[in-house]
C-alpha cells in the first residue's frame, strides 16, 4: 500500500508541478499549423466542390453521421458567401494558431471550424484528419505557445507573463493548468502509440506486409502518385522495398517498447519521422505526415530540444563568422530555437544541485 501511495505522490508532483513537453508542444503547434494552413490553401479553389454548395450530393450519407450539432453550424451549403466567410475565418484562425497568438483561445475555435469543415463531406477524410481531430481536442487543454510563438515573444518583450483573461476569483490555479497540460500530453502520447500498434497489428495480418512487398503497392496507385517518376524510382531495388516494408511493420508494432530506452527511442523516432516524411513526399499526404511527425516529437525531451537549440545557435554563429557580409551583426532570426537560449538553461532543466 505504501508503494502505491509513494508512486501516486510522485505522479501528483509530476502532473501538477510543472508543464511538461513545452518545446515539443510548441513544435507540434507549428507543424499542425503548417498542415492545416497548407491544406486550406491547396483546396482553396475546389472548396465549393468539396464541402460547399456543390457537395450536396453527399448529404444523404453526411447527414447520417451524428456529429455534435455545433460542428454542423459553421459551414453552410446553402450560401456560397456564408461558406466563404467561414473558410476565411478558418484560414485566419489557422494562421494565428501557427504563429502562436493567444493559442488558449484560438485552439478551441480553430477546432470547431476545422472539424466543421470536415463534417460537410464523407468522401474526403483520411487518417490524418482523424488524428488531427482527436488530438486537437486534447490539446485545447495544453499550453501550445510557450516557445517559438507570438505569445512567447510578447512575454519576453514585456518581461512578464501575458495578463490572463480570467483573473482574480476566476483565475485558473497553476496546478490545475499544469495537470490539464500534462494530461493532454499523456493522451496524445497514448493516441500515437495506439495508432502505431493498431496499424502494426493490421499490417501483420496482411500477406503483402509479411512478404515485404507492401511498400511497392503503396506507391503505384494513381491517387497516391504526385511525382510518378519519383515513385517508380523507389521500387527499382527489391531489397529497399523489403527493408522499408519490414521496418514499417515492426517499428510501429514495437513503438511503445522502443521509446522506453533512449538509444532505441532515437532510432524509432528517426525511423517514424523519416517514414512519414516519405509518405508526404511520395504519396502527397502531407497533412497526415506532418501531424504524425508532430506527435512523434512529443517523445523528445525538453533537454534534447535545448541541446538542439544550443547546437543550432553554435552552428549559426559559425556560419555568421564564415559569411561576415551576409548577416548584420547581433541579429538572430525571427523563428527557431536560438531565441530560446536567452534564458539560462539551468533554470528550466530540473535539479540545480
Amino acid at each position: 500500500m505504501n508503494i502505491v501511495r509513494t508512486q501516486f505522490d510522485r505522479f501528483t508532483g509530476w502532473v501538477t508541478g510543472s508543464m511538461h513537453a513545452g518545446r515539443s508542444l510548441s513544435a507540434l503547434r507549428i507543424l499542425y499549423g503548417i498542415a492545416i494552413v497548407s491544406f486550406l490553401f491547396t483546396n482553396l479553389a475546389d472548396r465549393h466542390y468539396l464541402w460547399g454548395v456543390a457537395s450536396k450530393w453527399v448529404d444523404p450519407e453526411a447527414n447520417r453521421r451524428a456529429w455534435f450539432p455545433l460542428f454542423d453550424l459553421v459551414f453552410t451549403k446553402d450560401s456560397a458567401f456564408a461558406f466563404d466567410l467561414a473558410y476565411g475565418v478558418l484560414i485566419v484562425l489557422a494562421l494565428l494558431f501557427l504563429v502562436g497568438w493567444q493559442t488558449r483561445f484560438v485552439t478551441p475555435v480553430l477546432l470547431v471550424f476545422w472539424v466543421g469543415l470536415a463534417t460537410n463531406s464523407t468522401v474526403l477524410t483520411n487518417g490524418g484528419d482523424t488524428i488531427l481531430r482527436i488530438t486537437l481536442f486534447f490539446l485545447i487543454f495544453a499550453n501550445l505557445s510557450k516557445h517559438w510563438s507570438v505569445d512567447a515573444w510578447l512575454t519576453r518583450r514585456r518581461g512578464r507573463e501575458l495578463r490572463p483573461i480570467l483573473r482574480g476569483r476566476l483565475a485558473i490555479p497553476g496546478w490545475f493548468a499544469n495537470a490539464a497540460n500534462n494530461t493532454a500530453v499523456m493522451l496524445c502520447a497514448y493516441q500515437i502509440m495506439l495508432v502505431y500498434v493498431n496499424s502494426g497489428i493490421y499490417k501483420l495480418m496482411g500477406p503483402e506486409w509479411r512478404e515485404g512487398t507492401a511498400f511497392y503497392y503503396s506507391v503505384v496507385l494513381d491517387v497516391f502518385r504526385p511525382f510518378p517518376a519519383l515513385n517508380d524510382l523507389t521500387w527499382q531495388f527489391g531489397a529497399f522495398v523489403w527493408v522499408a516494408t519490414f521496418l514499417s511493420v515492426w517499428v510501429q508494432l514495437l513503438f511503445p517498447v522502443l521509446i522506453l530506452w533512449r538509444p532505441t527511442r532515437i532510432l524509432a523516432l528517426a525511423f517514424t519521422i523519416m517514414m512519414h516524411f516519405g509518405i508526404g513526399l511520395f504519396l502527397g499526404l502531407w497533412p497526415f505526415s506532418l501531424a504524425m511527425i508532430a506527435l512523434d516529437l512529443l517523445f523528445v525531451r525538453d533537454r534534447s530540444w535545448e541541446a538542439v537549440g544550443r547546437w543550432a545557435k553554435h552552428a549559426g554563429g559559425v556560419l555568421r563568422q564564415l559569411l561576415p557580409e551576409r548577416a548584420p551583426a547581433g541579429r538572430t532570426t525571427e523563428t527557431g530555437p536560438p531565441a530560446e537560449t536567452e534564458r539560462p538553461v539551468t533554470t528550466t532543466a530540473g535539479p540545480a544541485s
Binding site: 491544406f39 491547396t42 468522401v123 482574480g168 483565475a171 496507385l221
Partner: protein
C-alpha cells in the same frame, strides 16, 4: 503543510503556485486556501489546501487517461459485445480504426465514369460519350506536392459504392445493373420509386428480408451518384440532361514480381450500371462550381 517537507508533492505545489498564476508567491507557504474559489476544480466550494486539490487533480488525470485508453481499446478491437455501446458513446468524434493500407493493401485503381442522355431539337434522345470523372479530378495529383483533396472525391465514393454493390446477392446485382426508369402513366418516363426498388430487390434475395439493410445502403449511395452524375454531366456537356448512368472501371498495376514487365498482368474490368432518370433541378450556383472545376482540371469543354 510546512514548506520544509521535501516530498515531491509539496515541492511541486510550491512551483505550481509560483509565476504564471494570478496570485503572489507568498501564498505558496502556509495557508493557501484562504477563501479563494477554484472554479473548474472538483473541490471548488470547500477551498481545500492545494495538497488535496493536487491529489484530486492527479486522480482525475489518471481516470481520464484510463477511461480513454479502455474506451479506445474497445473501439479498435474487432468485435466485443460492448463495442457498440462504446462507439455510440464516443460518437463520430473519437471513433477510430487504424487499418490504413492494411491488412491487405489496396492494389487496384478505381474510377467513376459517367454517360448522359438529353433530347435534341427533334425530341429524340442523344447519348453522350463516357467521361472519366475520377481521371479529371485526379488531374490535381501529378506534379503537385500536396494535391487538392479533390483527388479523393469520386475515388472514395466508388470504393464505398462498390463495397455496397458487392454486398448484394448475384440476382440483386443484376437488377441494379439494369435501368431504374419506368414508363409513366400519362406517357413519358419516370424514376422507379425507392419503395418499389426495395421490394424488387428484396423479392430476389436468397433469404428475403434478411438483407434489407444492404439494399437500403446500396440504394442510398446509388441516389447520391445519380446526383453527382447529373451535376457533373450537365456542367460538362452543357445540355439539359434527362438520364445518366455510370461505370466502375478497375485497373490493376502489375504485381511486385512482375513490376519490370512491359506486359500488363491483369485485365481491366468494368461494371456498368443502368440508366437513372434525372428528376431534380440543379441550382445555378452548383452548376457554376462544376463548370469551374471541369475547366480548371482540363475538361474538353
Amino acid at each position: 503543510m510546512t514548506p520544509i517537507t521535501p516530498t515531491p508533492v509539496e515541492d511541486a505545489l510550491r512551483q505550481a503556485q509560483g509565476p504564471g498564476t494570478a496570485q503572489g508567491p507568498g501564498t505558496a507557504q502556509g495557508d493557501t486556501g484562504s477563501g479563494r474559489k477554484r472554479p473548474g476544480s472538483p473541490a471548488a466550494s470547500s477551498s481545500p489546501p492545494p495538497k488535496r486539490a493536487a491529489r484530486i487533480a492527479a486522480a482525475v488525470s489518471i481516470a481520464l487517461v484510463g477511461v480513454y485508453v479502455a474506451g479506445t481499446l474497445i473501439i479498435v478491437s474487432p468485435t466485443t459485445p460492448i463495442r457498440g455501446a462504446v462507439v455510440a458513446a464516443a460518437g463520430p468524434y473519437f471513433t477510430q480504426k487504424w487499418n490504413v493500407f492494411a491488412p491487405s493493401i489496396m492494389k487496384t485503381n478505381i474510377t467513376y465514369s459517367v454517360q448522359a442522355q438529353w433530347r435534341d431539337a427533334d425530341g429524340a434522345l442523344v447519348k453522350s460519350d463516357w467521361v472519366d470523372v475520377t481521371a479529371l479530378e485526379q488531374e490535381a495529383v501529378a506534379g503537385s506536392a500536396e494535391p487538392s483533396r479533390i483527388q479523393k472525391s469520386s475515388w472514395n465514393a466508388m470504393l464505398a459504392y462498390n463495397a455496397r454493390y458487392l454486398a448484394l446477392d448475384a440476382a440483386q446485382r443484376e437488377i441494379v445493373r439494369d435501368t431504374f426508369i419506368q414508363r409513366a402513366d400519362g406517357g413519358g418516363y419516370t424514376a422507379q420509386s425507392a419503395a418499389s426498388l426495395i421490394a424488387d430487390l428484396d423479392a430476389v434475395a436468397t433469404q428475403p428480408g434478411s438483407g434489407r439493410g444492404d439494399i437500403v445502403r446500396f440504394l442510398r449511395y446509388d441516389y447520391m451518384l445519380k446526383e453527382y452524375a447529373t451535376a457533373f454531366s450537365t456542367a460538362y456537356f452543357g445540355e439539359d440532361v434527362e438520364r445518366v448512368r455510370w461505370r466502375i472501371d478497375r485497373t490493376r498495376p502489375n504485381d511486385f514480381e512482375h513490376r519490370f514487365d512491359r506486359e500488363q498482368q491483369f485485365d481491366d474490368t468494368a461494371v456498368t450500371f443502368g440508366w437513372r432518370q434525372v428528376d431534380d433541378v440543379i441550382d445555378p450556383e452548383t452548376l457554376a462550381v462544376y463548370r469551374d472545376v471541369i475547366s480548371r482540371y482540363g475538361g474538353t469543354r
